[in-house]
């Protein structure tokens, strides 16, 4: 995992939420390497930037969702994936659980939840 960079990829199709998450991550003193608004863009950005952490929204633009993107990235890049979902539906949660999530956060996400999940993921990725 040491080849992964101490940065965060934000995958979120809602521009303003993406912007807010970027601000929150930067306020933690971390770098946001890129943002993506679709599963395909997320895979490309993850392979390009090889971030330690990906904040992954489940609902995305296009046919494929965040669970599909995470599946692909888990096998090729191996970033720690923190799912951010608005849904508490069992179907969605079951799909996420198959997908080796590092953490699952439910909207609304408090600063505290985000900080805790991101810090844990950085430690797990070897960037204390």
């Amino acid at each position: 995992m040491s080849d992964l960079k101490k940065s965060v990829l934000i995958v979120e199709d809602e521009y303003l939420i993406s912007l807010g998450l970027t601000a929150q991550i930067e306020d933690m003193g971390l770098k946001v390497c890129a943002t993506a608004d679709s599963a395909d863009a997320a895979v490309i950005q993850a392979e390009t930037h090889r971030p330690a952490i990906i904040l992954m929204d489940v609902r995305l633009r296009g046919d494929r969702d965040g669970v599909d993107a995470a599946q692909a990235i888990f096998h090729t890049v191996g970033s720690k994936i923190i799912f951010i979902t608005g849904s508490r539906e069992q179907r969605t949660i079951d799909r996420i659980d198959q997908d080796h999530p590092f953490a699952v956060l439910f909207k609304p996400i408090s600063d505290k939840q985000l900080h805790a999940a991101v810090n844990d993921a950085m430690r797990a990725a070897g960037h204390a």
Binding site: G86, E89, K107, P108, K112
Partner: protein
Amino acid sequence: MSSLYDWLFNPSGLTPHGFCLLWAPGLITLHAASDAIIALAYFSIPLALASFASQRKDLEYSWIIHLFVAFILACGTTHLMSIVTLWSPAYGIEGIIKVITALLSIATAGILWPLIPKLVALPSASQLQQLNFQLLFKVDEHERTTQLLRQSETRVRQSNAELERRVEERTAELVAANARLSQALEQRDLLLREVYHRVKNNLQVIDSIVTLQTRRLSDPDAKNALQSLRRRLYALGLVHQQLMGSSNLKTFDVSPFLKELSENIMEGIGGRDISLSVQAIPLDVDLDFAIPLGLLVTELVTNSLKHAFPDGKGKIDVALNRLEDGTFALLVSDDGTGYDIFEAAQKDRAAGLGTALIDGLVSQLKATIKVHRMNGTTSEILFARDEAA
């Protein structure tokens, strides 16, 4: 042996009967002819009777016919013997035949009298015909009844089949209606989840805008005001998040909600040493109740954090209890320096908004609020169970 034969056919010294008639040809002819005709008739009648009896095997007392046959045959034979005795003196055999005839006659006569009532009792042909007719009528009637029965049986079977068909139809309709209802319910649930999801997403968007705005501000009062706004937005979002996770999409248990809500507000403690404890009984609440309740807890916990701990140390308790009289008590207490929120409101216009919100939300919940200042500050909000339902 020859004497018995002579006695039978030619007793000595006797003359034939013709001799008595002085062999007068007229008398001889008259007797012989008459006896011959009688004998013929007497042989013919029993033959006819025997033939009748043999053809009618169902006759009751047919043996009496055979007795008649024997008796008349015997009579016929005596007349035959009268002809024989005109020319031959066979008076022995004639006498024996007469004895046989006498025995048969007396037996027939003797048996016939007592038989009369029984013969009378036998149904006559016309009676039998009438009976037959009645029987035919009854058979006819029976057949008609059977036919009616069969018809009504057919009708019953038809209406049974009709009934079964209708039941099947109705069942199918009900199943279809049920399926439509289930589908409608499923669609409703889907729609509700979508609505909650969108509300939450929009709140998240607003939160992002506020976060971005906060970063660009340098005025600490303005930053604080926006942080308060974010806490209130979080309370609204959390209600929708809980609703989405509930099985009926209408109500959820307030206890984990209060815990998560209070913990989020504690993010504002900065580096201070302030602990939080949440003790809530399980209570199902709906959107209309949860929103004012969540906002109230947000304001009260925020107030304690802001005003109770000037030395940066302390403890906040959030509790929801059920009192003996059935009312519910929401308690938000701290062990800090007792503060007067109204005093604070006069100094700080932002605190003034919090106070106004508390007053308004308490009245929206049809609750009452009491503030105690003893070893810190305790806000006690009492509300009735009906309001929570």
